[in-house]
Assembly symmetry: C2
Homo-oligomer: 786 residues x 2
């Protein structure tokens, strides 16, 4: 009766085949289970020293006791300990004969297979499977199968809900001079407490814990029950302040497998009124109890099947790439909540507390495209978060002396700027909160990208337009007229390349601002023409005048864009070309560039070295802005100066590498992006999944290899496949329809499922084509592909 | 059957009568139980958030994972939790109807009386008493008396030995900008792990945990047993990595009191060979089990009685002063181990981890006198620590480029310098490790003070002389000849007043060095004359020549001592009189001076303000060095400039205040010293008892009010009693004899218990007197006393 029979086929599995204490925190991130409502790191049920146990519930932020507002590390629903005649099955003090964990991406479940041998030579097989239901997001469940292999004994199973989790705060810088024991490294961090005890309950049937965030006053309730399936048990409970425990005790016989199910329901005062959290938890728990573990798991699996069905992207001929790509999509799928328009995806998803759960431009530029083209409802939800934080963005602008809406570089629950002012060691000033302005244009870009793929004018009229216009207003108030040169400038900013702070006229920022202003004006014109009633409403609400909009266009026309006409090089910012040239001469074991001797994050700004692409980014984001030759020259120039010290970097170089036909490097960059967490090539996966890279990996598959882009409002394909790839297939949602795409080395096959009837004009490798609806069509690719 | 009947009479009790979470960490320090071998902070048995549980075993240091070597926070022997039908008796989640704790100083035991009311209105009376046996220092014990007042229920009692304790490391400075919730304040500190798991065991009878310090490889073993006295119980055990637990479960009846005893034995590899720690623990535990709690407690109480008998100091007429004085003596008695010549007393005793358990000059100057005059065997043990760390002191000298032995400003297990280089927040450099040199002379002073009181030439010949000569050698190598002025100087030092760093010719240091050199030479001469064999051995061992010793005397004669002959003011260091005068204008609620506006510890060095006495200190330490008028003038000058930002300060001002007849202030200073921890007037009692102040308080009673000093090798008395005091009595050990002293407003009564027969020459209020042995003698005090 081993759980092993439940596993999907191998291509869906990510495995850990040993217990390496040094890798535990990394696997905790990789094997996170979640459903967009919450994410739970893959700590072991019995909990061991050095683990970082965490469950994050999207939208539950608090800033009590912490230097910056945190996504709260909520109570832990995992704890289960098993005691064999009083000896705990513990991976640190028992002998571990074998230990294997498997993340089943197809079913969103984490399996574990451990064999313990204790000091009395008793061998116990311990198996478990856990999931956070994606069908009923308030439900988490775990099944444990325990088998005494060579003994009879009394087994005690203790299952808890533990409200004692902390968030990590800063680390003293002196502490970094030592390498810490993996059991104790978190002890060097200051910890922030965000939850205070409200109440606990227990009965024969279940237990309940309610906590409250100390400053933001969110209530969080967990109800849990423990059920042993096939044995007579003695049941007791324990209530101890912020920890509630259920205990079952039974006489276990040799070679018999005992099944214990733990079901947990979770609600917060963001979901229901505070006074009915308990009721909501109990109702969900009772339904789950009634249905039983198997049915709950089946419902969950069915929903996973339909999610995969909507977005799976398959590579035939390259198992590693396919596997890694799926891993990235898995994490995208558990990071967003289509049903909560007031939350978004943090830079580390719900899998770790790097960046404290804050939301960055990563969403609009890196993750949003995946959702736009595979689950537009979720994309809409993500954009609505920006609408619901518009007040905060307006306040940011006001506080800084500007008009309109200034989206925060780091966003939490309100849209107010939440970027910390100092690095975690307190030594270096972080300026991105003040200077990395492009986020505001990126939000606008996300909105119009969504519009172009969905045609969802309702969203624009109700929410999007207001954001667009308010961002345009912010830019107008922030931009400065240089009267000497008769041009508009944005000074003292940081572009995507964060090595260079306090720069003037960052080209990415300036071009995006121009685009933001122009497209806001265009959209307003469209609305004025076609939706006069809504226009009137908006104009009144926002006090918009024609003169103001004309001014947007006039300013946009005069924004300074540094460009060297002779070389065709776009200058990343004013005087960037005067920076010191320091060549990259060393690469690490992952073939990632090393800092040249004497340089680090905080002084690389003196050089032309880039943390991550800036001009290259721009050429991707606005593909019609520059011609192919300019793209090639600039890619070549900047690529060799880029250190990729951001996980946002490789995917952009992969996509642009394909575009400028540097395909060899593009393949490398694709793998760097796809494997960023699986091989931990940024060295910080323990802090959470690199969300932008998950999206960037999907984008590389679809926009890079698949060559899909929207150009002049039309779908366009210019694929290129690595020689080992036989076929790349994926799906795209387009204006309510669904397009099946299959690409081989020689052709592209398209099938547009649609309720409409008129043919769709598309572009394939530069040529206009007509795509009939509901009809599989094959287009030959020109021979230049390889 | 309440434990309350066991309490001593009220004058021996220190009480806490309420549960105030803000004061918990302070009471944990105040109510520490210990026996010199170990100290255990007074956390509650059930353990609550925000407590700082700690047991420190003298001599168990480790520096793994910490910025400076720590006195290791050893496994916790206290944990006992009680569950009433599954609900934990927890001071944070149950209603606490009453909570009282009483430290019984007479018997070295901590009592607790708590009444809990749980959410089902069940009321439980919980009482406990705990002690660390002073008769068998490897034994700790606890008795719990639990009474269900209004219900029948199943009670579960869980008792653990928990190896999971941490030491606190630095705190990030930014964290101090917020006041932290008492439940979570320790979370802001980095924590250092020093113990790793070795083994655990459990049986029906007892459980055992062994841990090892990670870097220093000391093994620490705890055996424990839990015994319910008067009920049928179901007994189980739990072993979980570094935590071993025994559980008893029984049906409890209303109004019946259940007695549960916990006995714990502790040994380390400093006590016995590593491979027999377990055996040693079991043997001690089994003996204790055989004897039973009551007998163990009686043995402990009897030993306490004899300790108090040796050193109690009674004030009749002032209960508060008497009570506070006893409290200080209590903490002296639990801080030193007469049986371990390789350990000493940390600046915070074994009651907290301020200063990381390190040993300072506090021992020789502040605590040693108490032991010299009441328990000379313990004093000898404390001095032997300096002998056993002589190699470290030699190495310090070598490392700094000097000869001889340089005692470390902060000393741990080896005598190597262990002063941290930075303040806990990493912001300010600490220079005492490099510059506060006087410690080396203070050690020499301690040795000769011991000799003068005991006449123990054996100690000198075997240990003391070597230390004396090596310290003299250090000074000779450190001192500089100023050829221009034909004088010897000690430049770039810190005196006792630590506000002033990098000063030249600090007068305390220079005079003590002169004294050190002169007395080393004198001692050598004595040995040469009277112990020729030992002299030959020493001279050979240390390569000592007559020329070298002559040089000591010559250098001593030319050491520069800043002194203004006109004013009679001793200048604290060269150019001290040029510092800025900033008057003290504000006092806090404890009547302690506040920093003048704009000043703090790190810039007060620009001014003439003192952290603690320096010149005043000197006049106390070497009473024959200056005449009464000079003492008066200097006391007056410096007293008004002293901020008392050290707990070492008030007692010195009390003693010197009496000496110069500033008795009003002396009384105030005595109380400040005596109450430093009881009213927490330094604001940091949570970090441990101020050891120097405990000794300084006793010194104020005996040397100040009692007027006892050794002048010209003779006992001398010049008492002064506050008007409310009727009588002051104390005991002194003097050259193997014991002197009973009783002082009233008008007379001093002496009784010298002795085996010898010749009378003793003493000095009373400046006049020579002859004291007959074994005969009570009364001397009238002259009327100038009040």
């Amino acid at each position: 009766m081993s759980l092993i029979n439940m596993l999907s086929s191998p291509e869906w599995l990510v495995e850990e085949n040993d217990f390496d204490v040094e890798l535990q925190n990394t696997f905790e991130t990789l094997f996170t289970v979640g459903n967009g409502y919450l994410g739970t790191r893959a700590t072991l049920e019995e909990s061991n020293k050095g683990e970082f146990a965490a469950t994050y519930i999207s939208g539950i932020f608090d800033n009590h006791d912490s230097t910056v507002i945190d996504l709260v590390n909520a109570p832990d629903w995992l704890p289960v300990s098993i005691w064999v005649d009083g000896i705990k099955l513990n991976i640190q003090s028992c002998r571990v004969l074998s230990h294997r964990r498997v993340l089943d991406m197809k079913t969103g479940a984490l399996y574990r297979f451990t064999r313990f041998k204790d000091s009395l030579d008793r061998i116990t097989s311990y198996e478990s499977v856990r999931f956070a239901s994606i069908q009923q997001s308030h439900l988490c469940a775990m099944r444990i199968a325990v088998t005494p292999e060579n003994y009879d004994a009394t087994l005690v199973v203790e299952s808890s809900i533990d409200g004692g989790n902390y968030n990590l705060d800063r680390i003293p810088n002196y502490a970094e001079t030592k390498k810490f024991h993996p059991e104790t490294k978190w002890n060097k961090w200051a910890k922030s407490k965000h939850l205070r005890f409200v109440s606990n309950e227990s009965s024969d049937k279940n237990c309940y814990l309610e906590m409250e965030t100390i400053d933001t006053k969110h209530r969080v309730g967990y109800a849990a029950t423990l059920r042993a399936q096939n044995c007579d048990v003695n049941k007791t409970q324990r209530r101890d302040y912020e920890k509630v425990t259920q205990i079952v005790e039974f006489k276990a016989k040799k070679e018999h497998t005992y099944i214990i199910d733990k079901l947990v329901s979770i609600f917060t005062s963001r979901d229901v009124a505070s006074d009915i959290i308990n009721d909501a938890c109990m109702e969900t728990l009772n339904k789950a109890l009634h249905d039983g573990f198997d049915r709950c798991f089946n419902d969950h699996i069915n929903e996973w099947n339909s999610r995969w069905n909507a977005c799976d992207c398959q590579i035939s001929g390259d198992k590693e790439a396919m596997h890694a790509l799926r891993f990235n999509i898995y994490h995208l799928l558990i990071s967003a909540n289509p049903n909560d328009p007031k939350v978004n995806i943090g830079a580390k998803t719900l899998s770790g507390e790097g960046y404290k759960g804050h939301v960055f431009w990563d969403t609009e530029i890196f993750m949003l495209p995946f959702f736009i083209y595979t689950q537009p409802e979720t994309a809409k939800s993500l954009l609505l978060y920006r609408y619901h934080t518009l007040e905060g963005a307006r306040k940011n602008a006001t506080l800084n002396g500007y008009s309109g809406a200034q989206y925060p570089w780091e966003s939490a629950d309100t849209g107010l700027e939440t970027t910390p002012k100092w690095t975690a060691d307190g030594v270096n000033r972080i300026w991105t909160g003040e200077e990395e302005l492009h986020i505001t244009a990126d939000v606008a870009y996300g909105i119009l990208t969504y519009l172009s793929a969905t045609g969802d004018m309702n969203f624009i009229l109700n929410y999007g337009a207001e954001m667009l216009f308010e961002t345009a207003r912010f830019w107008i108030s922030r931009i400065e007229l240089n009267t000497d040169k008769d041009r508009y400038e944005l000074n003292n900013v940081i572009g995507p390349d964060e090595f260079h702070e306090h720069v003037n006229n960052n080209v990415y920022t300036n071009v995006m601002v121009r685009w933001n202003l122009q497209n806001s004006a265009l959209l307003l014109e469209t609305i004025k023409q076609h939706y006069s009633e809504e226009y009137a409403h908006l104009a009144k609400k926002l006090c918009l005048s024609d003169e103001e909009v004309t001014h947007w266009v006039n300013v946009a026309a005069k924004i300074y864009i540094p460009f060297d006409t002779e070389s065709g090089l776009i200058e990343q910012f004013e005087d960037y070309f005067q920076c010191k040239e320091v060549p990259i001469v060393e690469w690490d074991k992952n073939d990632m560039p090393c800092y040249p001797a004497g340089y680090d994050h905080f002084n690389a700004g003196e050089t032309t070295l880039l943390k991550q692409p800036d001009v290259v980014m721009l050429m991707y984001v606005l593909p019609d802005e520059y011609d192919d030759e300019i793209k090639r020259r600039n890619y070549e120039f900047y690529e060799k100066r880029t250190l990729h010290k951001s996980s946002l970097s490789p995917c952009m170089h992969a996509i642009m590498g394909i575009e400028v036909e540097d395909t060899h490097k593009a393949e490398q960059y694709f793998l760097r992006s796809a494997l960023v967490d699986l091989v931990d090539n940024q060295g910080n996966t323990e802090w959470g999944i690199h969300a932008a890279s998950t999206g960037g990996t999907w984008m590389t598959a679809v926009f890079g290899f698949g060559g899909f882009r929207v150009r002049q409002q039309k779908m366009s394909f210019k694929p290129w496949l690595p020689s080992t790839w036989n076929e790349l297939t994926f799906k795209l949602r387009w204006h309510g329809d669904c397009l099946d795409v299959s690409i081989t080395q020689s052709e592209i096959r398209l099938l547009l499922h649609s309720q409409k009837s008129h043919p769709e004009e598309i572009n394939i490798t530069g040529e206009k084509q007509v795509l009939q609806r509901n009809e599989r069509q094959v287009f030959c690719l020109n021979s230049s592909m390889n």
